[in-house]
């Protein structure tokens, strides 16, 4: 079973978590000023990278908190997890994993 490290609770089994989509997507402060394309990009279009991906997870059956994780979409390896509000860690040296 995949082990995910919750920033609060520590290492926990995968089944306690749910996926929450891509991380670091801020809602535009003034949506009415956006073009249709820009609004569609905010709502629907995601980076979908092959490699490390910053995404939101929620420890639903645990502390219940959302947090961010950097995961390799190829190997499913969790490179890092960090609390919401913190910047995406610089993991360029870990990208080889």
């Amino acid at each position: 079973m995949l082990i995910i490290t919750c920033p609060w609770c520590g290492e926990r089994p995968e089944i306690e978590f749910v996926y929450g989509g891509e991380a670091h997507i801020a809602r535009p402060t003034d949506p009415s000023a956006l073009s249709d394309q820009e609004w569609a990009d905010f709502l629907y279009n995601r980076t979908n990278p092959k490699g490390t991906h910053a995404e939101r997870w929620r420890h639903t059956h645990g502390c219940g908190r959302f947090f961010n994780a950097v995961r390799d979409t190829v190997s499913d390896f969790f490179v890092a997890t960090y609390k919401p509000g913190e910047p995406r860690p610089d993991l360029s040296q870990d990208d080889a994993k």
């Binding site: 520590g10 089944i15 219940g64 908190r65």
Partner: protein, 185 residues
């Protein structure tokens, strides 16, 4: 006692006595969920009678009061033989004016105790957590899953666990625990 109010009473009455992992239904208790910001945490603990632990996944007991960490701003307050309304009336004045939520969830869940040298082994049939004493020491509490049900799991002693199970899931969890410990009879 009716099965509707106490869905475990019939199951508990017919449960075989297996000393390696004893299963028992706990009497009804008062349960409150407290959520609050920094300023409200300390006063709430003093008014409740057991300090709200600030360390993740720990509980603190004082007499018949038990405060369990469930999340960074969320605690489960357990009290045997207390009236929920009276308990809320005790805590509310202490946190008056401070952002917080205090909800009575007494009827939501039922308590199950699992005790014996093979208690952790039995729990691991449905719960994937590492229940060794180094990873899950006495005094640790966490919300987790048991098979398909969400539970709150407390380790009260090296060989004694307390499970808080949502009422409608209680017979399901009990049945699985019963099946898991059958081989130890």
């Amino acid at each position: 006692m009716s099965d509707l109010l106490f869905p475990l009473s019939t199951l508990a009455a017919t449960a075989p006595d297996i000393p390696a992992a004893r299963l028992s239904a706990l009497p009804p208790a008062t349960r409150l969920v407290f959520r609050g910001r920094e300023a409200a945490i300390g006063p709430a603990g003093i008014a409740f009678g057991a300090e709200l632990p600030r360390q993740a996944c720990r509980f603190k007991r004082s007499g018949d009061r038990l405060a369990a960490w469930l999340g960074p701003d969320e605690w489960l307050l357990l009290a045997e033989d207390a009236d929920p309304a009276a308990l809320i009336a005790e805590i509310e004045p202490a946190v008056f004016g401070l952002p917080h939520a205090l909800a009575d969830v007494s009827s939501r869940s039922l308590g199950i105790a699992l005790e014996g040298p093979r208690a952790a082994y039995v729990l691991n049939q449905g719960c994937p957590l590492d229940l060794s004493e180094t990873a899950f020491p006495v005094g640790m509490v966490t919300r987790t899953v048991f098979a398909k049900a969400e539970i709150v799991l407390l380790r009260e002693a090296p060989e004694r666990f307390r499970l808080d199970v949502w009422r409608s899931f209680a017979p399901y969890v009990w049945g699985l625990l019963e099946e898991a410990r059958r081989e130890l009879a």
